[in-house]
């Protein structure tokens, strides 16, 4: 599935405001898989993730006449999915749902013998998962979900400036960890 351009999404948004179901369908088809994956990062239970994403689209359609035309529809959907996911976790905290629990903390262990870049990527995964929560969330929304700063700001309910600070801080941490790793490796090639 090709990623739709921002302009395309904006056009769909305008048509949805004008009650165009076809535009709604197109938007649904292109964002559904991404949102399912995003919801899945909060909740391993695929049925729950599916319900939450569907809720978000139903809300979008039913509240379309209250949407501001300039607001990003992508940001709107992500923020609903996030809030509903967090509510679900709050209300079902006795069940084992948890936030991104099975992210590898020490992914490096499985990277032995692999190509240097792959090893670094595996390490990066671990470092990302160890970032402070807000930094990690902003970084992941930007890097992996492809959201703009102002969209992330809406999802995380902070200012775009704060989003930028989080991402910058995350990148710096990752760079420092990368540098440390490389330096130690130069001293001792067996270092992991």
């Amino acid at each position: 599935m090709d990623k739709p351009s921002k302009k395309q999404i904006r056009i769909w948004g305008e048509r949805i405001l004008a009650s165009d179901r076809k535009a709604f369908n197109s938007l649904f088809r292109s964002l559904y898989p991404r949102l399912i994956r995003y919801a899945g990062s909060y909740n391993r239970n695929r049925a729950v993730a599916r319900d939450i994403v569907q809720d978000a689209f139903v809300a979008l359609w039913e509240k379309r006449d209250q949407l501001e035309p300039d607001r990003s529809i992508t940001g709107y959907l992500y923020s609903i999915v996030r809030n509903k996911s967090l509510n679900y976790i709050r209300d079902h905290s006795r069940e084992a749902v948890g936030l991104l629990e099975d992210r590898p903390l020490k992914a490096a262990e499985e990277s032995e013998g692999r190509h240097e870049k792959e090893r670094l990527v595996a390490l990066l995964k671990g470092w990302i998962s160890q970032l402070p929560d807000r930094q990690r969330e902003a970084f992941e929304l930007s890097r992996f979900e492809g959201l703009e700063h102002d969209e992330i700001a809406e999802v995380m309910e902070v200012s775009p400036n704060t989003v930028n600070n989080h991402i910058v801080a995350a990148l710096k941490t990752l760079r420092d960890q990368c540098d440390t790793y490389k330096m130690k490796q130069m001293e001792d090639p067996r270092y992991e």
């Binding site: 302009k7 009650s19 569907q54 039913e62 006449d65 990527v121 890097r143 703009e148 990752l174």
Partner: protein, 320 residues
């Protein structure tokens, strides 16, 4: 497969500003980390086509209130969904079958690049311009004769018991047995509704202010937009110009470029992207009897306004 470079490009252009905030000697290193982390994310989204389609069907099943804004529905005020659910429950008890049919509205969407004529259940006909949408309740002709329009249409209304009403973006046209044209595109920035009458009489008023109505007669024109108290006083116009779209004429009378381009997009089923935003409000008058190709028109507009255009995947980009 050509997806990868395209995404990279998008990335590079939209992230340019982001990396500019780092000191020059840091910038490349930051970019490197950014690039490297591309593969450190979750696996690509995977939902089979079948999965997506069945989810979409479920969502439509849950919406079920017809293709129009709830607030214009006249019912369903605060909590549309709950209300519809009660309606649904009541209807199921009373009728068992057909409840869905009664509640669902009938929607006609005309694809871009095409014109369409539909006959309503009461025998009235509606000619619809490209890209227009018309919807009405399944009870049309029984309890009411109300249709909703987003776009442009020419109506020939059959005389009948209940008044024939066209509701557009926040304005209403109420008639008995008559011919008239309505133009009301919700996507146009001015959010204007224009009415031209070719036969009979038409009462025209803002949805919330029915007492502020005007009465139009044959050959008269009026318009209303959101910030006006009352529609313009009716005046005589050249009806042929107003109805030219039915014969595929293109007629622009001091229209802003943004409106003209939207018209072209619908008529020729192309996307036109104006990347000179300060030009959007520039107005232009033009007339074309039956333009075969959008480029004929585009070329003229660009020449007059000192713009240029180039082809894109699904249309044109217009720039300074």
């Amino acid at each position: 497969m050509n997806k990868v470079p395209r995404e990279k490009n998008e990335d590079a252009s939209s992230r340019g500003d982001f990396f500019a905030q780092f000191p020059p000697d840091d910038r490349n290193r930051m970019k490197e980390i950014w690039e490297l982390s591309a593969d450190a994310g979750p696996p690509a989204p995977h939902s089979s086509e079948q999965e997506v389609e069945s989810a979409l069907l479920e969502v439509h099943g849950r919406i079920r209130t017809g293709g129009r804004p709830l607030k214009r529905a006249g019912q369903g005020k605060k909590n549309g969904w709950t209300k519809v659910r009660w309606w649904l429950a009541a209807a199921v008890v009373l009728l068992v079958f057909g409840a869905g049919l009664l509640l669902k509205s009938q929607t006609i969407s005309v694809p871009r690049g095409e014109l369409a004529t539909v006959t309503l259940p009461d025998g009235s006909t509606v000619e619809l311009n490209s890209g227009s949408q018309l919807w009405y309740s399944r009870l049309f002709g029984y309890t009411n004769r109300t249709v909703h329009l987003d776009g442009e249409a020419f109506f020939e209304v059959k005389e009948g018991g209940s008044p024939f009403i066209v509701s557009t973006q926040q304005s209403v046209v109420r008639v008995t047995g008559t011919q008239f044209n309505i133009r009301s595109w919700s996507l146009e920035p001015s959010r204007t509704t224009e009415v031209t009458v070719t036969e009979g009489r038409v009462r025209f008023y803002p949805e919330d202010l029915p007492e502020h109505s005007v009465m139009l007669r044959e050959g008269e024109f009026s318009s209303w937009s959101e910030n006006m108290k009352q529609p313009l006083a009716p005046r005589s116009v050249s009806v042929d110009n107003r109805l030219g779209w039915r014969k595929q004429k293109l007629m622009f009378n001091e229209q802003p470029l943004v409106v003209i381009f939207q018209e072209l997009e619908r008529r020729f089923d192309v996307d036109i992207e104006l990347t000179a935003p300060h030009m959007a409000g520039e107005t232009l008058s033009a007339f074309y009897a039956r333009p075969k190709h959008v480029e004929t028109v585009l070329k003229d507009i660009c020449r007059v306004k000192g713009l240029r255009y180039s082809r894109t995947a699904n249309g044109y980009r217009v720039y300074k």
